[in-house]
């Protein structure tokens, strides 16, 4: 029994922390947030050079061969820094190819993805659908030995600058579609979070060769999904940690009625509540990350618990931090709103807390 990071994991954490703190100071974050497409190719190149694009991918395919605990460590720091980066979407694509791809696809797409040479992103949810987890409607019509895709995907993350999409079809399969393939139209969405962009992607008669469709379908993707839930939950935990620290610093500094406001229990108890939610989220995340690496049979429940808890904490803690800051916390000038927006956006991605609680209920009530 040892529930803490190893020295190696602490080293990953320290490296990530220092790198991200130096690259994503407020001014730079705001530059990226205000840019047209929200991309930061130089920053992504540096992350790829650090091995992050393939952190939890097999060494055999050019990854670092590390585990989901290590991935969670990295994502917690990504959230702490609120780094605008395609790391999440690229990790989804990487894990899907790694766990469900053919060797041919791994050679052509996973290897360059792991090195940062090519970037992938998932195109899962269908426009106009309720975006239920695991249910897709996009049509994959048989065409010779391949398929033709027709439909529109929404909530596709980091599409600008991506090289390929992993498109889910109604039969539960995934297809690799190059972003510049004929019939693909990418339209940026307007989203609350300017540091993680979403687009809609129209596919009009896009032909996919047989070799570009992944062999797995449906439940084969659950292990990818559960690992990604852990990664997002880790990012939300980092968001909670950072905004808790911001609230505590402010409450020590800001004076009203002749005292620092943190001396008042209305404020200090709010901060204690933020700590509780942050630590609970962290425990749930690392418990699930450990399960992914060491006890995969308990991953589905643990991942749903982590995602449900961190989905809530990931926006409630920044929200409480805004309240501690008072009026200044509501201004665009203060960075807090970016954290609230990312946290709320994360809460909705890959199953919201209600959806994941229902999975927990399935496990405990049937």
């Amino acid at each position: 029994m040892y529930f803490d990071l190893t020295d190696e994991q602490r080293a990953i954490k320290a490296t990530a922390h220092d790198f991200l703190a130096s690259r994503f100071k407020s001014a730079r974050l705001r530059e990226i947030a205000a840019s047209d497409d929200g991309t930061d190719p130089a920053g992504w190149k540096e992350m790829a050079d650090l091995g992050w694009a393939g952190l939890a991918l097999p060494e055999e395919w050019g990854g670092q061969g590390l585990g989901i605990v290590d991935l969670a460590v990295l994502f917690e720091e990504m959230g702490y820094a609120l780094a605008p980066s395609p790391l999440l979407s690229n990790t989804v694509a990487g894990l899907a190819l790694s766990l469900c791809g053919s060797d041919d696809l791994r050679e052509r797409y996973l290897r360059p993805l792991a090195s940062g040479e090519k970037r992938g992103t998932p195109a899962l949810w269908d426009a106009g659908s309720p975006a239920t987890i695991g249910e897709f409607t996009l049509e994959a019509r048989a065409d010779g030995d391949g398929v033709v895709l027709d439909g529109e995907k929404v909530l596709v993350p980091d599409a600008a600058g991506a090289d390929f999409f992993l498109v889910a079809s109604g039969d539960g399969r995934r297809h690799v579609v190059d972003c510049d393939a004929d019939g693909v139209t990418v339209t940026p969405e307007t989203a609350i979070d300017p540091t993680r962009r979403f687009s809609s992607v129209r596919l009009d008669g896009v032909r996919v060769a047989a070799a570009d469709s992944l062999p797995g379908a449906g439940p084969d993707y659950y292990p990818v999904f559960h690992r990604i839930c852990v990664a997002i939950a880790a990012e939300s935990t980092g968001i909670a940690q950072r905004t808790l620290e911001m609230a505590v610093e402010y409450a020590k500094d800001r004076q009203q009625f002749g005292r620092p406001i943190g001396a008042y229990q209305a404020v200090s108890h709010r901060c204690a509540q933020m700590l509780l939610e942050t630590e609970n989220a962290r425990s749930a995340v690392y418990g699930a990350a450990w399960a992914a690496d060491a006890e995969p049979e308990s991953l589905p429940l643990a991942a749903s618990m982590a995602k449900a808890y961190a989905s809530d904490a990931g926006w409630r803690v920044p929200d409480a931090s805004i309240q501690v800051h008072g009026g200044i916390g509501f201004t665009w000038e203060h960075d807090l709103h970016f954290f609230l927006k990312r946290g709320r956006s994360n809460a909705a991605l890959f199953g919201d807390s209600k959806w994941h609680r229902e999975r927990v209920a399935d496990a405990v009530l049937g």
Partner: protein, 392 residues
């Protein structure tokens, strides 16, 4: 990171599991507190004979010298199998460890063995009517008279004082010193003329707690623990002992309650189905499971930190608060599921689950008060973990 038990820990767990399975006397009698106490005395004798009383105590003092993980395993397993509590809970968890840490050789010789056997029950005389959360403001006076101390004052919330032989008493020996420095820690004989214990009737109708009145009670000099004037720091050790290890018992107890809650939800009819099919109840039950799991994992993290550095991390201070929240939330939800039947208590023919949840609902009101209120815990977390300024 490794959330599994080592082979030797698994072996220990299996040993504990088997022993409790074979020796657990089952649920406590539903009669008077006297009957419950004699049931618990018998259980403690059994525990002691098999070497399970004082498992955290060093071997030289009659304990088992178990590691923190082994303690956690034992407490968790006993709670999981719903074994009774030993009669001398406070002596085992607080009295013994304090005597071991601060007592003289004579005190160790005199007090430890009867704590382990349960022959002498201990109680704790800290809180007073005017000194609850602000414990250090306590007013019970002890005045030196020859080689004795003479004690006058009142204590309250004294669990099992009516059965106790010894009271861990904190009294003011120097009224002129700053409030934390004028206190001394005594072992007071409860069986004397100047001491009277009166049960306080709780909102459940039971009387676990007492008021203790001291009118010129006598304590020999030899019964000071630590130094005169050092009572605050000795008392703090006691309180820390109270919290250590409890988490794992509390977690197992919550898991048992969650199992009963699921059973209740499946039995109660709601909108043509069972409450377990109802989205609203499913969501709330799931949330309680998630919170119980975070509490369990926090306790593991705290245990790892304590084993490494001797000091629990910030998550260690959260457990008692979480426990109170979850336990209250559980019983509140159970009554909500019972709906119109919620008012019916044990003794009523139509009470759901023989009124167990009504009792639990009422008893759990104390969870956020006993052993440090949730409000005070939030102050402690704000000041000591987050470093926020003190109000005072």
């Amino acid at each position: 990171m490794d959330l599994t038990l080592s082979p030797s820990e698994e072996e220990f767990r299996d040993e504990v599991r088997t022993w409790i399975e074979e020796n657990n006397p089952g649920p406590e009698p539903e009669g008077s507190l006297d009957e419950v106490m004699s049931f618990r005395r018998e259980w403690q004798l059994k525990l002691h004979a098999a070497g399970w009383a004082g498992i955290s105590w060093p071997k030289e003092f009659g304990g088992r010298g178990a590691t923190m993980i082994e303690q956690a395993i034992f407490v968790g397993e006993a709670a999981r199998q719903e074994a009774p509590s030993p009669a001398n809970v406070l002596g085992l968890a607080m009295g013994g460890p304090v005597v071991i840490a601060h007592g003289t050789d004579e005190q160790k010789q005199r007090y430890l063995e009867p704590i382990l056997t349960g022959e002498e029950i201990w109680c704790q005389g800290f809180s007073e009517p005017e000194s609850g959360s602000d414990l250090a403001s306590l007013k019970t006076r002890a005045v030196k008279d020859g080689d004795e101390w003479v004690v006058t004052g009142q204590k309250v919330w004294t669990t099992f004082a009516q059965y106790a032989k010894w009271c861990m008493l904190v009294a003011r020996t120097d009224p002129d010193a700053p409030k934390h420095q004028g206190l001394t820690y005594f072992l007071m004989d409860m069986e004397q003329e100047g001491v009277e214990a009166k049960p306080l009737v709780q909102i459940t109708g039971e009387g676990e707690f007492n008021e203790v009145f001291m009118e010129e009670a006598r304590i020999p000099e030899a019964n000071v623990v630590g130094e005169v004037g050092n009572g605050w720091s000795v008392a703090i050790t006691t309180l820390m002992n109270e919290r250590a290890g409890l988490a794992f018992g509390a977690i197992a107890q919550i898991q048992n309650s969650l199992g009963r809650l699921a059973k209740l939800a499946k039995e109660v009819r709601v909108n043509g189905g069972s409450a377990a099919d109802d989205t609203y109840y499913r969501q709330r039950i799931a949330q309680l499971h998630i919170e119980a799991e975070t509490m369990r994992l926090n306790a593991y993290r705290g245990l790892t930190k304590t084993m490494q550095s001797g000091i629990p991390g910030p998550e260690g201070s959260l457990g008692k608060w979480q426990w109170a929240d979850i336990n209250q939330g559980l019983t509140e939800l159970a009554l909500e599921i019972e709906g119109a039947y919620a008012p019916l208590a044990r003794g009523s023919e139509h009470a759901v689950a023989n009124g167990a949840w009504q009792y639990g609902f009422l008893r759990s009101r104390a969870n956020s008060i006993e052993g440090g209120t949730t409000d005070i815990l939030k102050n402690i977390i704000a000041e000591r973990v987050l470093g926020l300024p003190r109000l005072r």
